[in-house]
């Protein structure tokens, strides 16, 4: 059984060192009455044991560096090591967020130029790098939309239209910003049900939130019509940039009629996912919404770059300082390495890889939408439900074969859904091997479904009991 670091504690041991104390300092003692009564129950451990502990934990975790990671909607592409080198440069890492602006001109240039570059890619006019993740960007964008309607005395617009296959963050962000979400049906071709949209659009519509390509990996060819319907009703269009990888420099959300959007730099622009974050979710908009962008902002004048801390119509501040600078710094370098030429290649090759996989996997499983996909596609893995094998079981069995599982049970509208996204970086051989593995699993389902149903067999743990975890939660180390 694996031990937590708390259980490895050995009394009196430690790793730390501190700068030499000095008699000049020793005389100062904090007021006794305010001190902590009992020491925090933290472990005592040497640097060697600490180092080994984290090596052991790392060996029980899988990243893109280890394996193919076809996790749909997550864009698990290579996180180039040169990004990490860049973020660690002391010239960047040692800058304080409240440093005088003349001493951080390099940082401010990165901010201004990255916004400019993201605007060019997306067909937008202005932006902010302050949001720390995609959902944070959604929140900022919705608040900007709210401010826009308020300025026009249209505060009755309290509804946000969201397709039923959208990311969960869309309705959650709408709720957080004080809006009601209204679900739009998806039609049999995997596109928005236009008739339903027409029924729902009204003078209460604040905006439509859309991912295009959507979470089924399909591009909506009706996008111009959709945009027209919403705008005719006085609403705005929000673009969820989670799937931007497919269309980099092929088509811009601004060109499609979107007014505001976020980009997940931890997806499209290769910054690491880090086991769940930190990410960065810049928000971009057209001139209609520019004045509402959050602060702080960076502007350029004759003397150089300067920071605007307050702006009259801005929605205000949504994080403590300038957002996840260390993350968007990586994205800046990634964009510079590619140039607009290379960014287009990313889109082309991600779409090529997805369609290649889709074609081959179509021989093994049901593909609900036969048309060409963009960077990802859905598989309906319900063929073997009568043998008791579900998408979850196939996902777990894939782990045994040394590939990570696709996203499963999302979008919710597809039965036994597997959402597969091979990014542009994967080689043909990797994709071929993935298909071979899936084919092997299908053979197993036919001959010995038990081995699939009970997978994984080769991981540090067998299938975990999530129900028990939620029923009587153990959420921290306890000595009791």
């Amino acid at each position: 059984m694996t031990k937590t670091i708390f259980e490895k504690s050995q009394s009196g041991q430690h790793a730390f060192s501190l700068p030499k104390d000095n008699n000049a300092f020793k005389q100062y003692a904090p007021p006794q009455a305010l001190l902590r009564k009992t020491d925090p129950p933290l472990p005592e451990i040497s640097e060697l044991d600490l180092t080994r502990h984290f090596c052991e934990l790392a060996s029980r975790n899988i990243g893109i560096d280890n394996q193919f990671y076809p996790l749909g909607s997550c864009t698990m592409k290579l996180n180039p090591r040169v990004n990490e080198w860049c973020a660690a440069l002391p010239g960047f890492a040692r800058t304080h967020p409240l440093a005088p602006e003349h001493t951080v001109q390099g940082n401010l240039q990165v901010i201004a130029e990255l916004i400019e570059m993201l605007c060019a890619v997306s067909g937008m006019q202005a932006g902010s790098l302050v949001p720390c993740a995609g959902a944070h960007g959604e929140y900022a964008g919705i608040k900007m939309i709210a401010a826009y309607h308020k300025q026009r005395n249209q505060s009755q617009r309290n509804e946000i239209l969201i397709p039923n296959d959208a990311h969960g963050t869309n309705p959650a962000s709408a709720a957080m910003a004080g809006f009601k979400s209204i679900s739009i049906r998806t039609d049999s071709s995997g596109d928005i049900d236009i008739e339903h949209l027409k029924e729902l659009a009204s003078d209460r519509t604040a905006c439509l939130m859309l991912t295009n390509p959507n979470t089924l990996g399909l591009f909506s060819s009706k996008i111009s019509e959709i945009s027209k319907i919403i705008h005719q009703h006085g609403g705005l269009l929000y673009y969820d940039g989670a799937n931007l990888n497919a269309i980099l420099n092929v088509v811009g959300p601004g060109d499609m009629g979107f007014d505001v959007m976020h980009i997940n730099l931890h997806k499209t622009f290769s910054t690491p996912h880090g086991g769940g974050g930190p990410g960065s979710g810049p928000i971009l908009c057209n001139n209609k919404l520019k004045e509402f962008l959050p602060v702080p902002r960076v502007e350029k004048n004759k003397e150089g770059y300067h920071i605007v801390w307050q702006a009259e119509s801005s929605i205000g501040r949504i994080s403590a300082f300038h957002g996840n600078f260390g993350i968007y710094l990586r994205a800046y370098l990634y964009a510079k390495l590619h140039g607009h030429y290379g960014l287009r290649k990313i889109a082309e090759n991600s779409v090529l890889n997805a369609n290649y996989l889709k074609k081959l996997i179509g021989k093994l499983f049901t593909i609900p939408y036969p048309q060409y996909c963009m960077h990802e596609f859905v598989v309906q893995a319900d063929t073997y439900v009568d043998k008791g094998v579900r998408a979850l079981d196939i996902a777990k069995r894939l782990l045994d074969y040394g590939v990570y599982a696709p996203t499963i049970y999302f979008p919710l509208i597809i039965k036994e859904c597997m959402l597969i996204e091979p990014t542009e970086g994967e080689s043909k051989a990797t994709l071929d091997r993935f298909v071979e593995i899936l084919s092997k699993i299908v053979d197993e389902i036919k001959s010995d479904p038990k081995i699939v149903k009970e997978a994984p067999h080769t991981k540090p743990v067998m299938r975990l009991d999530e129900v028990a975890a939620a029923k009587s939660p153990i959420l921290k180390h306890s000595t009791k």
Binding site: N61, V104, G106, L352
Partner: protein, 452 residues
């Protein structure tokens, strides 16, 4: 350059398998009038050119050459070398959110340990897996309190909470039907207790204080928390977590929800991010906690393992009814803070906190002995305090900067009534020689400004 594996030979084979002649055909669903023409000229850089560019940009930042006394929610501390060694491991750095628990036990256990460490420091029962930063943690804690204390709409907040955090709270609450009442501070920087006690009543949802507050003062939180409790309101305390290694924990001072930013523990300044918003609370409030939580469980053979748990609170399950919209959090930065906390350990953190305190006290006392220097107050402190030098503020700043010192935060920029005050943060990174040089530079202000 790019990171694309397949070249012309594989591309052709794949196109053939798909049954199309070109990649362009795959984009057929994108209306042609919207489609852009592919850039003809390669405008990318090589890796070495990219590195040169970034070195040049980083060299445009002159700030790292200064000896800095800036704090105010972002502190210069030693980052143990082990932190980067752990966080740069492929298995952690390049993994996704641990939805496939069996392939993500390492990260799940690490975050479980992070939660345990946050609970150890704050004295709370439950921590989540992280929020974006201290400011959004404040906003989320208030939204959480609004779900816990129903049918009330008054939030009481100390004006001595970080002004940027105040701004974020106001932004988040602007879409909710609530009213904020502000607790003023006194001339010595401490919270006005009588105002605080008067504001808390049966309509109060929660009271939010900072410990130590923005001016570095350790307010008496206990009596305010007691009053809040008596009225059925919650007490939320925002704190630099390092303070809990030395001073009374959030639990000891009566907090129901403890929040803050773990930046002082293992995270470089990085111009304000990535940092980590921590949030911890008492057991009974866990179901209203925002964000991910890791829990312990067993596998089908009874072996211990870790999973994401209580997910019925989260956006991917509950959509518009979720406790928050947060999905991507600050996991790797939380791991960095965990490694730093463990590297210091039980004894080291306390000594680190004491070292900070003593060096700050030294500078404060030396400055207070100079003629014309006014210390904001003599209330209990941790590693920050405010002073006023005589002379015009621009002149004072340029004098310090001419000596390679960034003397602290100009409080007048945040609070007009505090014009002239400078907030000074002192950490273990400042040596006796550097502190003496600060004092010497302060002593020569007058001469340099021509008042002498």
């Amino acid at each position: 350059m790019d990171f694309i594996a397949n070249k012309e030979i594989q591309v052709q084979e794949m196109l053939k398998t798909i049954g199309v002649a070109s990649i362009e055909e795959l984009f057929c669903d994108i209306p042609t009038n919207l489609r852009r023409i592919a850039p003809a000229v390669d405008d990318g850089l090589s890796e070495s050119e990219g590195m040169l560019l970034m070195e040049e940009l980083s060299a445009k930042n002159t700030f790292p050459k200064f000896t800095s006394y800036l704090g105010g929610g972002a502190y210069e501390h030693h980052v143990p070398a082990l932190v980067n060694a752990v966080c740069s491991k492929s298995e952690f750095l390049t993994s996704y959110t641990p939805y496939q628990a069996e392939a993500s036990q390492g990260m799940l256990q690490a975050i479980f340990e992070y939660q345990s460490a946050v609970c150890a420091l704050t004295g709370m029962d439950v921590s989540n897996a992280s929020l974006y930063d201290g400011a959004t943690a404040c906003a989320e804690a208030i939204l959480m309190a609004l779900r816990l204390v129903k049918d009330r709409r008054k939030i009481v907040i100390a004006r001595s909470l970080h002004p940027n955090y105040c701004a974020v709270i106001e932004q988040y609450l602007s879409s909710h039907d609530v009213e904020i009442e502000w607790i003023s501070f006194k001339e010595d920087g401490s919270i006005d207790q009588s105002v605080a006690l008067n504001l808390i009543d049966d309509q109060t949802v929660a009271v939010l204080l900072q410990y130590p507050n923005f001016f570095g003062v350790l307010d008496d939180v206990k009596s305010i928390a007691a009053k809040a409790k008596a009225h059925g309101a919650l007490t939320i305390v925002n704190a630099n977590p390092l303070v809990y290694a030395l001073y009374a924990s959030a639990e000891e001072i009566g907090a129901d929800i403890a929040i803050g930013d773990t930046q002082p523990l293992g995270l470089p300044l990085h111009f304000g991010g990535p940092y980590v918003g921590y949030i911890a609370c008492k057991q009974e409030f866990v179901r209203q906690m925002p964000g991910r939580i890791i829990g312990e469980t067993v596998d089908s053979e009874g072996k211990r393992g870790f999973v994401l748990t209580l997910q019925a609170r989260e956006q991917h399950i509950r959509r518009e009814k979720a406790t928050s919209n947060i999905c991507t959090n600050q996991a790797l930065a939380a791991l960095a803070s965990l490694v730093a906390i463990l590297w210091y350990g039980k004894r080291g953190l306390k000594q680190l906190a004491l070292t900070n305190y003593q060096r700050a006290c030294y500078l404060k006392e030396k400055l207070s002995n100079l003629p014309g220097v006014k210390i904001m107050g003599n209330e209990p402190m941790f590693n920050e305090f405010a002073v006023k030098f005589s002379g015009n503020i621009e002149g004072i700043y340029s004098h310090f900067r001419s000596q390679g010192i960034e003397p602290g935060i100009d409080l007048g920029k945040f609070y007009p009534e505090l014009a002239g005050y400078i907030l000074i943060a002192v950490t273990e990174t400042k040596s006796l020689e550097q502190l003496d040089r600060y004092v010497e530079t302060a002593r020569t202000i007058k001469a340099s400004l021509g008042f002498g």
